[in-house]
C-alpha cells in the first residue's frame, strides 16, 4: 500500500517537472537564440580579429593588450564609473523619497505618481532634446534662472567638460526615478500598518518610524532596485549617445559607446567584444558582491 502510493508520487513529480520545463521552454529558446549564443560568440570573438566579413583570425590576447594600452578605454571606464557613482545613489534616494511621500493619503497623490512615471515612458530622443534646451549655456532657462539669482558665470553644462557628466546624471535620474518609485510603492504596500501603530503608541516620531520600520522592511526591494540600477548604469548608452555623443571631447564617453564605435562603426568586432567582456566582468563582479552583502545582512 505504502509503496504504491510513493511510486505514484514520484511519477507525478516527474511529470510535473516536465510540465514545468515545457512552460519555460519558449522563453528559454528565445533567450538561448538571442542572448546566450551571441554572448558565447562574443566571448570567442574577443580572441579573434574579425571585421564581420573576412575570415576571423586568432590573435589570442592581443585585443586585451591593445585595450590596456588604449587611453580612450581608460577614459571611458573612468567615465562609466563616475556615471554609476552619481546615478545609482541619487536615483535610489529620489525614488525612495518620492515613494514615501506619495504613499500617504494626499490629495492628488495619484496625479503626481503618474506625472513622475511619465519621463520613463517618454521617447528618449525627445527627452534629450528638451534637456539640451533647458541646459543650453546662453539661452537655456536653467542658466537664465541661475543668472537671475546672482550667479554671474553659470556652468556650461553639456558644453563643458566639467559639467557635462553631472548634467547627464541629472537627466538620467529624472528619467529613471519614476520606474524605481513604482517598485518602492509596491514594497511600501506590503509593510503591515500595525508596525507603525505600535511604534506610534511607543512614542516614535516620523523620522524614527522611517529609519526603524520603513527602511528595514524595504530591504528586499532596495536590494532589487540596487542591482537593477547598477546594471543599467554600467550599460548606459542611449541617453548619453543622444544628449552629448560622448562629448565635449571624451568627457562623457562611456564603455558602451566605445563598444558601439569600435564594433558597429569601425567594424572591429574582436576588439569591441573584448571591451564588452570587460564590461560584463565588471557588472558580474559588482552584482556578486551585492548578493554576498545581502546574504550576510540577512543572517
Amino acid at each position: 500500500m505504502a509503496t504504491t502510493l510513493s511510486a505514484a508520487g514520484t511519477g507525478r513529480r516527474r511529470s510535473s517537472t516536465w510540465i514545468g520545463w515545457s512552460f519555460i521552454l519558449p522563453n528559454f529558446l528565445g533567450f538561448a537564440a538571442l542572448t546566450l549564443v551571441p554572448v558565447i560568440a562574443a566571448l570567442a570573438l574577443s580572441f579573434l580579429d574579425w571585421d564581420s566579413y573576412s575570415t576571423p583570425r586568432w590573435v589570442g590576447l592581443d585585443n586585451f593588450e591593445r585595450m590596456i594600452h588604449n587611453d580612450t578605454f581608460w577614459t571611458a571606464l573612468k567615465n562609466t564609473a563616475y556615471y554609476a557613482i552619481g546615478h545609482v545613489p541619487l536615483t535610489l534616494c529620489a525614488a525612495l523619497g518620492f515613494a514615501v511621500l506619495l504613499n500617504q493619503k494626499l490629495r492628488g497623490a495619484r496625479f503626481f505618481r503618474t506625472a513622475l512615471f511619465f519621463p520613463y515612458i517618454t521617447s528618449l530622443v525627445a527627452v534629450a532634446v528638451v534637456w539640451n534646451m533647458l541646459l543650453s549655456p546662453d539661452l537655456g532657462p536653467v542658466n537664465q534662472f541661475l543668472r537671475a539669482i546672482g550667479i554671474d558665470s553659470p556652468p556650461g553644462w553639456t558644453t563643458s567638460t566639467t559639467w557635462a557628466m553631472p548634467a547627464v546624471i541629472v537627466a538620467s535620474v529624472w528619467r529613471d526615478l519614476g520606474y524605481y518609485m513604482i517598485l518602492y510603492l509596491a514594497g511600501l504596500q506590503t509593510i503591515p500598518a500595525e508596525l507603525y501603530e505600535a511604534a506610534e503608541v511607543d512614542g516614535a516620531n516620523g523620522w524614527q518610524r522611517f529609519w526603524s520600520i520603513t527602511v528595514p522592511s524595504l530591504r528586499p526591494t532596495t536590494f532589487f532596485v540596487l542591482i537593477m540600477l547598477t546594471i543599467s548604469s554600467f550599460k548606459v548608452f542611449d541617453l548619453i549617445q543622444v544628449m552629448t555623443e560622448g562629448g565635449p571631447g571624451r568627457s562623457t564617453l562611456v564603455l558602451s559607446q566605445v563598444i558601439y564605435r569600435e564594433g558597429i562603426v569601425q567594424g572591429r568586432f574582436g576588439y569591441s567584444s573584448a571591451v564588452s567582456m570587460v564590461l560584463f566582468a565588471i557588472v558580474l563582479t559588482i552584482t556578486l558582491i551585492q548578493f554576498q552583502l545581502q546574504r550576510r545582512s540577512e543572517r
Binding site: 538571442l34 542572448t35 551571441p38 554572448v39 560568440a41 562574443a42 571585421d51 564581420s52 566579413y53 573576412s54 588604449n70 587611453d71 580612450t72 532634446v129 539640451n132 534646451m133 541646459l135 543650453s136 549655456p137 546662453d138 539661452l139 556650461g156 553644462w157 553639456t158 558644453t159 563643458s160 567638460t161 554600467f234 550599460k235 548608452f237 560622448g246 562629448g247 565635449p248 571631447g249 571624451r250 564603455l255 558602451s256 563598444i259 558601439y260 564605435r261 564594433g263 558597429i264 562603426v265 569601425q266 567594424g267 568586432f269 569591441s272 567584444s273 571591451v275 564588452s276 564590461l279 560584463f280 557588472v283
Partner: protein
Amino acid sequence: MKRHLVPTLAAAAALALLTACGGSGSSDQPADGAQTIKVALWNYATTPEFKAIIDGFQQANPTIKVEPVDILADDYAEKVTTMLAGGDTTDVLTMKNVIDYSRFGTRGQLLPLTDEAKKLDPAKYSGLSAYDLEGKYFALPYRQDFWVLYYNKALLKQAGVEESKLQNLTWDGYATLAKSLTKGDGGTKVYGAYQHTWRSVVEATAAAQTGGDLLSGDYGFFKDQYSMTLDLQKNGTLMPWATASSQKVTYNTMFSTGKAVLMPMGTWYASTLLADTKSGKTKVEWGMAPLPQRASDGKVTTFGSPTAFAVNKNSKHSDAAKKFVEWASSEAGAMAVAKAGVTPALTSQQILDTYFALPGVPNGEVAKQAFKPDKVVLEMPVSDKSSDVDQILTEEHELIMTGEKSLDDGLAEMSKRVKSEVR
C-alpha cells in the same frame, strides 16, 4: 556592451536567413528577358538625383527595372556593413563617402570595376583618383561636391556690399565683412556668418589651402583658420559653437531664415535650397561665391568629396548592375544629375550650362566662378587610419571650439593622440 552586439549579430543572422530564402525563390529572369536590379541608397524622397538617375537609366535600358532600397542617411554606413556581413545581394551600393568605400573595397566586398574606370578621362572626373585602391577601382563616381560660400543677397544689398566683392575674397576679408554684417541682438540677431559645427569647416579648409596632411599627426597648419574662427566667435560674429551644438542648430535654418549672411557649405546645399524655394518653404534670395582663400592671387582651392556607385560582389545581376554604374557616371547620367540641381562628377561646359539654366540657380559671374575651382582637395585622405584620426580630431575640435582647451593645447593634444593611439 553585449546588448548592442547582440542585435547586430542577430540581425546579421536574420538577414542571412532572409536572403538565403529570398534568393532561391525569386524569379531572377522572367520570360521576356527583363531584369530587376536593387540599388541601396539613402533618403530617396529628399535626394532628387537618385530618382533622376534611375528614371534616366530605365529609359535608356527598358529591359532593366531598377528598385531603390531606401535607407536612413544617418544609419547608411552601419546598415550597409550589416547587410554585406549577412550576405545580402542588393546589386548596386551607393558609396556615401570614400572612407567607407575603401573599407568595403579592401575587404573584397565589391566587384572590381578597373576596366570601366580606365575608360573615364581623369581630367574630367576630378573625384576619380579617390577610388584608386592600389591600382584597382571598385566604384565609379557620379557626383562631386565641393565647398563654396553661400550668401544672402537681400541682406548683402541692405548693407550696401557689392556681390562682386565676394569674387576674390580672402579669409581676412571674410572676417572683416562678416563682422560688419552682424546686426541686432537676442532673438532678432543676424550673424555676419555661420560656420557649422563640423570639424571640416575649419580643418579640411586649412588642410586643402595650406597643403597640410590630415593624417600626419602634425597640425600646426590648422592654426590660422582656428584663430580666425575663434576670434569671430568671441566678438559675436559667429553663433557660439557651444550653442549651435547643444541646440542642434541646423545650417539650413540659419541660412534660409536669414539668421546668417555668409555661410561656407558644400554644393549639395544648393539642391536643398532649389527644392525648398520651389515648394515655397523658403523665400531666401541666395547666391554662391568661391570659398575664401588665404591669398588674393585669384586661384581657388577648395575641398570636397565624391559619391559613387559600386557593384556588390554577391550581386546576381552583375552585368545589369555594371551597366547602371557606368550609365550614372556617363555624360547622360551627369546631365540627369545636373538637372536635379546636383553637381555631377563629370565636368564639362555643356553640363555647367545645363546646371546654370535651371530655374532658381543663381547664374551671375560670381556663381559661375564658384563652380570652377582650380583645385578640389579630398576632404579626408583615404587610409585605414582615416576613421580613427577623424574621431580624435572631432573630439579635440569640440574642446577647442567650446574653449575647454586653448588653441595651442588642443593642437598639441591632437598631435599627441594621433601619434600614440592610431596604429
